[in-house]
Amino acid sequence: MNKTQPAVRHRSNRLGLISSLATVAFLAACGGGTPSGSGLGSGPLLVGVLAPFSGADASFGPRYLAGCYAASLSINGAGGIGGRQVSCQQFDTKGEPADAVPAANSMIAGNSNLMGVVGCTSDEASTVVPILDRSHIPMFCMTGQSEFNKSTAKYFHRLVPADSFDAYAMIGSALFGTGHPAYKRVALVFGDDIGSQTFVGPAVAALNKLGVTIAINQAIKLGAPSYRTEVARLLQATPDVILTETIGSAGTYMKEVKQQNGGKVIPFIGTSATIDPVWFKQVKDAIGLTDFLANYQAVDLKLTLSGSGYDEFVTQLTAADSKFGGSNALTYKGKSPTVHLYDGIIMTALAMVATNSADRTVYNPKIIDIANGVTGATVVSTFKEGVDALKAGKSIRYVGAAGENNFNQYNNSQQGYNLVTMDKDGNEVVLGSLSESQTQSIIDAGGGA
């Protein structure tokens, strides 16, 4: 196993031992609006969107909220969870772990009807995951930090890849991707933010093992006004592809690549985080749409973005449009965070219906059953279908807007990678995918994941 071998939080270890004992005591301490017996209870339910709504990553919160709005409309339109209506509320972590602590605790204390929480990005996951876990609140987190690769937090769920997986997939794209020969001289251009730090190590290890030349490995200061000298150095190294993320500064950087390279853009492969409206607009504005479409590729988890589950998602997202103060919620329709968190909330709701319980300790384990499916389970793709199938006495597997989920014993769902790009409107377009053996060969070269 490699250096990014995940950590096990010491407190999470203990949690397994005490959770069963603590449950009763905790619920009493909590002031218990949560019924501890069976039955779905009554009154509205709340999904907390615990994420940055201000600060450097303020654009994250709204896209999660969009997923939540769509999910709540889908659930409420089908009669709610045993008649209980679901609503969404934002809780601003300000994109930092210290402010996230009171935000999380205040959310928990003030809302006994929390059915689950979505959000918790890399900015704040390290403080809020333990808090939510000890309060037995199912969560779907958007962090790629490797410390959660083998999380033992029972209420933690992750539908996004670990950052190191993204690194491997990008190399896969460079070597086995469609529409180009295997690249031989790779440039790594990453920023100084949380996500980027974890790409570089595994990527360098894998590239060296696979005999690919690393033309240049460049760490840049995000948010700098220009990168002209950096780009001059990059061009001196004559890479034939750039692997990058550089959120916030990609436009500035790529524009200078184009200018200094005589108007010719070098192909660039982005992480799954680059499939994002802000990133798209920035780079498209900088180098022009034509060059963007001709040179950009990215990797993403296998999202289907089709089928009745996805159609339902788009329908509800359209309906949620009015909730966004005039801005267009539909810009999020091809965004994996929005789609994933939508699925997470629907699965949580179905778990509640399936267990006929609003007790989080009861329905939480059911979420994974519904995601992975048990033998003979009926496949459903919307909340309504799920409820109908459950009422008919069947067990179900939810294959939703993003497609299948496969949680492992650490509550991480990995579906393999798609090689993707974006169309002129910034929507994801799938170009192909990496085979098991291709992915495995890179992961082995990188020293495992």
């Binding site: 250096k3 990014t4 071998q5 995940p6 950590a7 096990v8 939080r9 010491h10 407190r11 203990r14 949690l15 005490i18 603590a22 301490a29 909590c30 002031g31 709504f53 201000s54 600060g55 450097a56 303020a58 919160g61 709204p62 909220l65 934002q90 601003d92 300000k94 930092e96 772990p97 210290a98 402010d99 602590v101 009171p102 605790n105 205040s106 928990i108 204390a109 003030g110 890399s122 390290s126 403080t127 333990p130 808090i131 000890r134 309060s135 930090q145 490797s146 410390e147 100084d192 933010d193 949380i194 730090q197 974890t198 760490a219 200061k221 909730k323 966004f324 103060g325 005039g326 801005s327």
Partner: protein, 333 residues
């Protein structure tokens, strides 16, 4: 209200009170505008963290940092306080000796940004932007940190620190040294003329403030178990300034009141604001942005309508001294 939430509020209030008392000593009593205050809290937090953590090869080595000595309580807290004081020496020597007051302020502001940028980019030092996680709190190996008991225990550790810092701050304010500081704040030239050495006075209080700020960081990091560059961006300092201005500059009780009103009270209240208003949902980023506008307005409003704050600094008049108007402070000339 559950135990965790109550404990969080109390610990945060304690940390903010300690920080505001330190800032009040520097800004309220001595007139030093320490716009890099949060850096001193951060250095205390980082120091306490690396003193109490295992070496970075632990936990699967997913983070890198210096130190990792696993020292028992109270060494990490004392170390954090010490680090805050030690950092104050070079910073004070650069900034406080010759520069004019407003110039000191912007130099410290720039410094705050530089230090944050360095820590973010030099990853092997303190794990860069991701920061360090899984910092063991005091006695977390003996009391389960997930338990109610531990939450209350942590409040129990914080409260004596608050009282100690308050005691120290009160002693300083009411001592001859405190009078010298106020004299310097009101009229540096006059204070110099009666034999006070302003550089020495400023350096002393800068170091004292650094020690207290370092302690506040150590307490906070033990509780939240994480520290990262995003926690100590310079706007955090502005919030503390707003607290001291609102509470009452130069008055320790005012500083405490300010800590309770602004960093704790204001943000707890805004957390509880509704996010829909009669069917209208504002754009998701609007309310957080308006919180900052409100903080700005709060500062300007107080400085205009009530510059002395909620609890003004008491006017100290000696028996027999002629009553006169206070000199207008450092008039622009």
């Amino acid at each position: 209200m559950n135990t965790y939430y109550a404990a969080t509020l109390l610990v945060y209030a304690g940390v903010d009170i300690i920080a505001c008392l330190a800032l009040n000593l520097q800004f309220g009593i001595s007139g030093i505008v320490n716009f890099s205050f949060i850096v001193f809290q951060a250095v205390g937090a980082y120091t306490a963290a690396v003193l109490s953590m295992p070496p970075d090869t632990a936990n699967g080595a997913y983070q890198v940092y210096v130190g990792g000595w696993q020292l028992p309580f109270p060494i990490p807290w004392l170390g954090g306080a010490l680090a805050g004081g030690l950092l104050a020496i070079p910073v004070g020597l650069v900034v406080l000796r010759k520069l004019r007051s407003d110039y000191q302020a912007i130099s410290l502001l720039v410094l705050s940004v530089i230090v944050n940028s360095v820590i973010t980019n030099v990853r092997p030092f303190l794990n860069g932007a991701a920061g360090i996680a899984q910092v063991p709190g005091p006695f977390s190996d003996q009391i389960d940190p997930l338990s109610d008991t531990y939450q209350l225990f942590y409040v129990g550790l914080t409260v004596p620190c608050v009282l100690l810092v308050w005691l120290v701050a009160s002693r300083i304010v009411n001592s001859p040294f405190g009078r010298s500081l106020r004299a310097m704040r009101e009229h540096e030239l006059a204070a110099t003329a009666i034999g006070k050495n302003p550089v020495e006075l400023k350096m002393t209080i800068f170091i004292v403030g650094g020690v207290i700020a370092g302690l506040s960081g150590a307490i906070l990091v033990g509780y939240i178990e994480v520290w990262a560059p995003s926690v100590w961006l310079y706007p955090e300092t502005i919030i503390l300034f707003a607290a001291v201005i609102v509470g009452g500059r130069g008055n320790n009780v005012g500083a405490i009141l300010g800590a309770l009103l602004v960093p704790v009270g204001f943000f707890e209240v805004t957390r509880r604001l509704p996010t829909t208003f009669g069917g209208w949902t504002p754009p998701p980023n609007l309310i957080p942005a308006m919180e900052w506008v409100a903080i700005g307005l709060l500062i300007i409003g107080f400085l205009w309508f009530r510059p002395e704050g909620v609890r003004p600094e008491p006017r100290r008049v000696f028996d027999g001294a002629p009553i006169r108007e206070e000199p207008s402070s450092a008039a622009i000339s």
